[in-house]
């Protein structure tokens, strides 16, 4: 069982790295980029029986800082 956790800065939180990537793309000639947000993808290999609620707890306690970040869990 695998879980994929995507952690992103919440809307409205300034993302200096995303802004730098956007500016670099613009200077390379890619004119159509109106916004860039950079986040993290964390893949977890889970033992059978691990619940989605436990993964949510992992996100709340460690994987995301919920003051500034949101997270999404996909279990496959």
């Amino acid at each position: 069982m695998k879980a994929t956790v995507t952690v992103m800065l919440k809307p409205g939180v300034l993302d200096p790295q995303g802004e730098a990537v956007k500016s670099a793309l613009g200077s390379m000639g890619f004119d159509g980029v109106e916004g860039v947000r950079q986040g993290k993808v964390i893949e977890l290999d889970l033992a059978p029986g691990t619940t989605e609620a436990q993964v949510t707890e992992m996100c709340e306690k460690l994987l995301a800082n919920t003051v500034i970040e949101s997270y999404r869990v996909e279990i496959a």
Partner: protein
């Protein structure tokens, strides 16, 4: 007076912090991150600068979950004094002993220089030996010192006089130029600049020394 200085894998200001405490008259104990208890009869815990756990995931996030930080949270809850410097400030924010977060510097660069600060409050056990509004110069050395907090949180910090130090100019994009903040009970201080690096004339400055002297004074008279 007894001070503990925590040591995480990747801490690199722990010995400097211990020396600064000793010069202010503290008996200092180094405490390893896997320990589950702090020394007895302790007056203050120092959480030092460095790159705990390689800054993996987020600066301070993994250190915040270490066994010793559970003991530090209990110590703070019982009214203990805690001083977090640079990475230590990041750890205290991740532990939620202090509000807000420290994000990547707005200019994206590691900044390492002498930095002018203003002492924003002298009403704390860490700042009482400074003069109100005093300008001091303390080195900064960080990549993630951009202090952010939501509007309500900022209003609360300002209303409760909990901003300890502010930058003159803004080296990292921090909201309201914040360089250091106090907890609600004023006994936990986190700051990005390094006062332990300016406690001796040979360091090129002594503007950090009053911070440790304030603490010694507060703890002796307590």
């Amino acid at each position: 007076m007894r001070a503990a200085v925590l040591v995480f894998p990747g801490s690199n200001c722990d010995r400097d912090l211990a020396v600064a405490f000793q010069r202010a008259g503290f008996d200092t104990h180094m405490v390893w991150h896997k320990d589950t208890e702090l020394p007895e009869r302790l007056d203050v815990v120092g959480v030092p600068g460095g790159f705990s756990y390689g800054d993996y995931l987020r600066c301070g996030a993994i250190a915040a979950q270490s066994p010793i930080m559970r003991a530090v949270a209990g110590f703070a809850a019982r009214g203990g004094h805690v001083l977090g410097i640079c990475n230590g400030f990041q750890v205290l924010c991740e532990t939620r002993l202090l509000p807000g977060v420290l994000m990547r510097n707005a200019g994206l660069k590691f900044t390492c220089k002498m930095q002018a600060l203003t002492v924003e409050t002298t009403d704390s056990p860490f700042t009482s030996a400074y003069k109100p509004g005093q300008e001091i110069v303390i080195p900064v050395a960080h990549h993630d010192g951009n202090y952010q907090i939501d509007a309500d949180g900022l209003a609360r910090l300002q209303g409760e006089d909990r901003i300890a130090f502010a930058y003159e100019g803004n080296p990292n994009g921090s909201v309201a130029h914040i360089a250091g903040v106090l907890s609600e009970n004023r006994r936990v201080l986190g700051l990005m600049p390094h006062p332990e690096r300016v406690v001796d004339e040979a360091h090129g400055g002594t503007d950090g020394a009053p911070l440790f002297a304030s603490l010694a004074e507060a703890l002796v008279s307590a």
